[in-house]
Point group: C2
């Protein structure tokens, strides 16, 4: 649903703005397709512009380097996962279940799409991209949990950084072949208990989330 | 105190072994001094060997690259901090207090020695060095807590990775100027609650640890 601000901005955007946005979109989509085909190391800027049918110099109107484009592609993919994972507040799903579900999905990424996760972890600013994209979604879920008395989190910023940093470290270890068993379940439990749930409550929230995701 | 194994090994070590160990030690100490003087970026292998008074080629008998030496220096410094932080099990200090104290010290590193921490975070394998050095110490403290019923940690490996990964992410943010207030206290609380302590117990453990450290 478009907000008032978006509509207002839409009216203000000129034809040149829209053209510029389309070109940027084409570069990102082409970059993403090429990365999927042969990975980042084989990616050449000239190949992107050639396939997107724009001048080589145009690339630099939108991105400063190849890595800049790659970061954008990864950030967008991560945003899609986050948006699909975190339900809208008006759905009134238990915040504990929301957190468990998000953790299950993100930990699962390492199994479902190891190439993407490897790409993410090898970015020079992986942690920044990870944090920038995920913090707003995670913060919303946590704030709702605090509001309705489901979570006790005295320092939201510290907990947010700790939870995302921990997830990052675990995903890295999974990719490197460490950790057997259901890491997502164990980590969801660890996080929910750190938010003040009893182990039994954390277990129940994990089960509901897992059932909702696979249903 | 030398163990039987060390003494046995000592008998078996030849003069050449001891000489080799002395040279390695000299390279590490010289590297550490030069890093302290002017940082890693200005560090040149030739300068290390020249000041340590060994042939340039000798460096490569001990380290494959400059970064290899830097990793060793950082790993040793981290080990010293860990060894000074974690008390011996026979001292029978409350494991919750041990964990809180370790977190206070490590978070405090970012304030006490930002140059060292920046060096640590900029290593290409920072997380590996961090984990390799800290896991054994942290594992000992956690296992004792589980043994005496102070901690409930169903999956020790997942919790270990999460706790160290979270600390890493927080230290990075502190260095980048984020997080106001006492991050060490907030994180110690978060971790201890994740280990099954009540917020009140976590608070008390933090206070004891802080008192012991400053006394």
């Amino acid at each position: 649903m478009a907000t008032v601000t978006e509509v207002t901005q839409g009216h203000r955007r000129t034809r040149a703005d829209r053209q510029r946005e389309r070109t940027r979109r084409k570069l990102i989509d082409t970059g993403r397709a090429l990365i999927a085909e042969r990975g980042v190391s084989g990616l050449r800027i000239q190949e992107i512009t050639s396939r997107a049918d724009v001048a080589l110099g145009t690339f630099y109107n939108h991105f400063s380097t190849k890595d800049d484009l790659v970061e954008t592609v990864v950030g967008e993919t991560l945003t899609e996962v986050a948006a699909a994972t975190i339900p809208e507040p008006e759905q009134h799903i238990d915040p504990a279940e929301v957190v468990a579900g998000a953790i299950i999905r993100f930990m699962g990424l390492a199994d479902r799409d190891p190439d993407f996760v490897r790409l993410l972890l090898n970015l020079s600013h992986a942690d920044v991209v990870f944090a920038t994209v995920l913090y707003p979604y995670a913060r919303t879920a946590l704030e709702r949990g605090i509001e309705i008395g489901r979570f006790v989190i005295p320092d939201l910023d510290v907990s947010l950084t700790a939870v995302v940093g921990g997830a990052f470290a675990l995903i890295r270890e999974i990719l490197e072949g460490g950790h057997k068993g259901d890491v997502g379940k164990a980590y969801a439990r660890h996080v929910l208990v750190s938010f003040g749930l009893t182990p039994q409550d954390a277990e129940a929230a994990w089960k509901s989330a897992a059932a909702r995701i696979t249903s």
